[in-house]
């Protein structure tokens, strides 16, 4: 086995990186892969609660790096899915406790024994982000269809390319099809026009995501959730399957196309 190291990042906070990491981890593991999720947000540990594993933490990422425990001891086994593990972030330290080289070494130690290593990056463009990016083979950029998060995504895409980790893959999260239809939210095509990056998934806004995080059970486990289905599709695309994009964002319906055409003067 040679793991693919996949870093999930965004620039802006609160767009759904942790949710994406948890769900892609669960989805990839459900497909039969062995997966390790690493929470690289030192000091603001969150992936554990989203995955529902917060009660089992003994050691964390900084313990591994500083040699207080073996790598295996810090890996928490998921309660529902075989072959899914979490390495939690330290809660009481800050990002200077870890260096990009530490992360590269950690990834190299994991690489031979697993199929996927997912790294949940902290927000921002500083040390924590650099740590998460350093070992990456592939990078997912999560954005919401609104101005500030798309702007930050563009900045991050530039930094990823500068580090020769590109091209990144884009996930548009929390899209509201009804708002896109009304012309009150950027649609998938709008975001792609602006960012010029490969799309790997569109996740509709879905209340089930909140319910799932309340319960510590990633939404991809709920087979009635449209967001869960979208995350599953992303995992399948990551595995090389060709999964068609559905008309989720409904930005393509005739009436909204017509109205935009009229407004833009037939451009």
């Amino acid at each position: 086995m040679t793991a693919t190291i996949l870093t999930i990042t965004s620039g802006k906070g609160g767009v759904g990186k942790t949710t994406a990491t948890a769900n892609l981890g669960v989805a990839l593991a459900s497909m039969g892969n062995s997966v390790v999720c690493i929470d690289a947000d030192i000091g603001l540990r969150n992936l554990d609660v989203v995955m529902g594993l917060e009660n089992r933490i003994v050691y964390d990422l900084v313990d591994v790096i500083e040699g207080r425990c073996k790598l295996r001891q810090a890996m928490i086994k998921d309660k529902r899915i075989e072959n899914l593990y979490l390495i939690p972030a330290a809660q009481t330290r800050d990002k200077t406790a870890v260096s990009p080289q530490d992360m590269v070494k950690l990834a190299d130690d994991l690489r031979p024994n697993y199929d996927w290593v997912l790294i949940d990056s902290p927000a921002g463009i500083e040390r924590g982000f650099r740590n998460a990016l350093a070992p990456a083979d592939k990078v997912i950029i999560v954005t919401n269809p609104e101005v500030s998060s798309v702007r930050d995504a563009d900045r991050i895409i530039g930094l990823i390319e500068a580090e020769e980790k590109g091209p990144g893959m884009l996930v548009i999260n929390r899209l509201k099809p009804e708002m896109v239809k009304r012309g009150d939210m950027l649609g998938t095509e709008d975001v792609l026009d602006v960012l010029a990056v490969e799309l790997v998934g569109v996740v509709p806004d879905d209340e089930a995501v909140i319910v799932a995080s309340n319960q510590g059970s990633p939404v991809v486990l709920n087979n009635r959730s449209i967001a869960g289905k979208a995350f599953e599709n992303i995992a399948r695309r990551l595995s090389g399957e060709i999964v068609p994009f559905t008309e989720l964002d409904a930005g393509d319906n005739l009436l909204s196309k017509l109205s935009r055409l009229v407004r833009s003067g037939g451009d």
């Binding site: 101005v147 702007r151 009304r182 009150d184 602006v194 009436l255 009229v262």
Partner: protein
């Protein structure tokens, strides 16, 4: 506003506005040249060129543009009308 109302009002949707604003801000972000710096650049260009030729300063337009692979500064610098120049 409903879609139908907007269709006939000719007003841009907020999504269109968002896209335009994003495109503008990203052109400046990517070039690391803020609108304020661009304005200062324009003032200096006007000063330098005015040393050599009379230009219509109010009509000078310096803008950043972008296509798929390149960013460029485009300057449109009209000369003052011949009558004004002869003065």
């Amino acid at each position: 506003m409903s879609l139908i109302e907007r269709l006939f009002s000719g007003q841009p949707s907020s999504a269109d506005e968002a896209k335009e604003r994003l495109q503008f801000v990203l052109i400046h972000d990517r070039a690391d040249l803020s609108p304020g710096k661009l304005e200062a650049l324009k003032d200096e260009i006007i000063q330098v060129i005015s040393k050599y030729v009379d230009i219509d300063q109010k009509q000078v337009d310096i803008s950043l543009t972008e296509d798929r692979s390149h960013q460029r500064l485009v300057a449109d610098i009209p000369l003052a009308s011949p009558r004004a120049r002869r003065r």
